[in-house]
Amino acid sequence: MSKILEGLYYSNDHEWVKVLEDDVVLIGITDFAQSELGDVVFVDLPEEGDELVQGEEFGAVESVKAASDLLAPVSGEIIEVNEDLVGEPEKVNQEPYEAWFLKVKLNDPKELDKLLDHKAYKEEISE
């Protein structure tokens, strides 16, 4: 059974968003996503200072058999990129909810309303 955490927001394409203080969020991919991908070998992320636009492609997660695009769940400026994932991409498989990709300062917190809560996401993946 795929693990889903309460208290996080979820997007339709299997990303989670965790709200920290001051309209800053962490973004990563869900347990469901990592298990579909298989062993992650590389995460292709933009740089600090780059802008995310909700719904637009910002990078990719690569496994041996697939490369999945990452679509921005929210808009904002990237204030930090998780460098750990460069050397240890397997963390995405091991602890998908700890292995955050980006720390983003939201442009518009109201965008979070467009995302799913844990219950809605659970329904989404059981279809």
Partner: protein
């Protein structure tokens, strides 16, 4: 020997030579005259090996390979038919091997004739007007074909047309080629019969004036014939687009159908599939591109033409440009020409029927154990969606690996993407009933093993030079050269 496990660099011993070069004869000239700043500071780390060691090395690693002459090679969509030896003999003739591509036409009339006559035979077999042989591979041919389509529209001031329609069952090179050519993909769904959904197609082009064309393989990647093909080409033509034929599955049609007659305007052929030239472990192939008369001016340069009995080389101003240094993989073209003359019109027309008979025979024999997703006849290849018995946890990968233990090459797996456990089998016309029966028996055996002894499949292969590889390690460690390897060993041993 299958146990052989050395890299060529590990055979290197200082002072050994494997070459035989003449002595210097103009010793008044030397590298020392060259400015030091032009020269590399360190010697390259190339091995020093004597001739016998080089031969043993490559002979031994060749034993770890599987060629068509080892056994059955049922790779769907690859058309692994017999690669005739007479082709190789002709390709070794000095008069072809030793001519320089820039020699004047008068000194290479034989070579030019081969080019011209091959493209003429391809035109006749495909029902199109003329071919270029300059494209190096199928994917390259697709790119060239799309460039021609784009150029055609632009030459008519129709600059909006930049959308290419591609079915979801298409080979990955199709959408990739579209993007490389600066256009966009509109993907349409296949219907329950595994074919292009005509209604979806009509809706996709409805009211649009930006359709450049459509790319289609026929029979499609499921091995079944798009029987609505005439309606499909009509829809696209009426929408102002051109039809591109991906020739990967042309083998099924030899003797029965010509792409030009189905309404296609541009196509590529894979000489290394349909026309027997060797795959070479992944290349060199050749992907000649054929067009209708209207599109002929756009074929890439250089062009080979004929006047009376004389062949000459021409650069055409309307061409899309140059897409190769010279005339493509010329020696591959030569081999295909030999093949076509070996078969002649009498035998070429039997290729499609025999290939189709073989595939249907296999389909019929295996459908009791393997799940056939689409009913009805297939053409030269058949797609199964894994085992009928879904109770095992055996995946298509396991079946493929187990087949290797039985001395046969695996079929194509996980393509087309429409079926999650796809197994695509293409026997080709050069396989006998006895070989097919052997294959069928083994596939049934494997189906039974899947239920009664699944570990045999999960552990497979066990009788090959190596077992399954750690692909995650390869992708993460990124050891792509001997230098990387030495660095990895050093770090590991610390």
């Amino acid at each position: 020997m299958i146990q052989y496990n050395k890299l060529i660099f590990e055979l290197s011993k200082e002072e050994r030579v494997g070459y035989s070069l003449p002595e210097s004869r103009f010793n008044e000239y030397s590298f020392d005259d060259l400015n030091k700043q032009f020269l590399r500071s360190e010697e390259p780390n190339l091995p020093e090996v004597y001739e016998l060691d080089v031969l043993r090395h490559f002979t031994n690693i060749s034993n770890k390979n599987f060629g068509i002459e080892n056994g059955f090679y049922p790779l769907g969509s690859c058309t692994m038919k017999y690669n005739p030896k007479i082709n190789e003999e002709i390709a070794s003739l000095r008069g072809f091997r030793r001519i320089h591509p820039l020699q004047p036409a008068s000194t290479v009339q034989g070579a030019l004739k081969v080019y011209y006559e091959l493209q003429r035979i391809l035109s006749e077999v495909s029902g199109l007007h003329e071919f270029t042989l300059n494209s190096y591979a199928g994917a390259h041919g697709e790119l060239v074909g799309l460039m021609i389509i784009k150029e055609y529209h632009q030459s008519r001031q129709d600059f909006k047309r930049n959308k290419i329609i591609i079915p979801d069952s298409a080979h990955g090179t199709n959408p990739a080629s579209v993007v490389v050519c600066g256009m966009e993909v509109i993907e349409i769904d296949s219907n329950k019969r595994g074919r292009v959904d005509l209604q979806s197609l009509k809706e996709a082009v409805e009211g649009r004036d930006d359709i450049a064309g459509m790319m289609l393989t026929n029979p499609n990647t499921l091995g079944i014939f798009e029987d609505d093909i005439c309606e499909i080409t009509k829809v696209i033509h009426e929408a102002g687009g051109l039809m591109y034929y991906d020739g990967a599955n042309l083998n099924a049609l030899l003797g029965k159908v010509r792409p030009g007659d189905m309404g296609f305007d541009v196509m590529h052929i894979n000489l290394h599939k349909t026309f027997s030239t060797p795959h070479g472990g992944g290349g060199p192939g050749s992907g000649p591109v054929g067009v209708t008369k209207e599109l002929e001016p756009f074929l890439p340069n250089p062009r080979i033409k004929k006047l009376d009995d004389h062949y000459y080389i021409e650069e055409n101003g309307d061409a899309i440009g140059r897409i190769s240094s010279y005339y493509g993989n010329y020696m591959v073209s030569l081999r295909a020409y030999v093949y076509l003359l070996t078969l002649g019109k009498e035998n070429l027309k039997l290729v499609g029927p025999y290939a189709t008979l073989n595939a249907n025979y296999v389909k019929n024999a295996l459908k009791t154990a393997y799940q056939l997703p689409i009913d009805g006849n297939c053409m030269h290849e058949v797609v199964f969606n894994g085992l009928i018995n879904k109770d095992t946890n055996i995946k298509t990968l396991d079946i493929a690996k187990r087949l290797l233990d039985y001395g046969m090459h695996a079929p194509t797996i996980y393509f087309p993407l429409l079926f999650p456990q796809a197994i695509m089998i293409e026997p080709t016309e050069t396989e006998s009933l006895q070989t097919l029966d052997e294959f069928i028996n083994i596939m049934h055996k494997i189906a039974i093993e899947a239920k009664e002894n699944p570990d045999k499949l999960k552990d497979a292969p066990t009788r090959t030079p190596i077992r399954r590889t750690d692909e995650v390690f390869a992708a993460k460690e990124m050891i792509f050269s001997y230098k990387d390897y030495l660095a990895y060993i050093e770090e590991r041993d610390q």
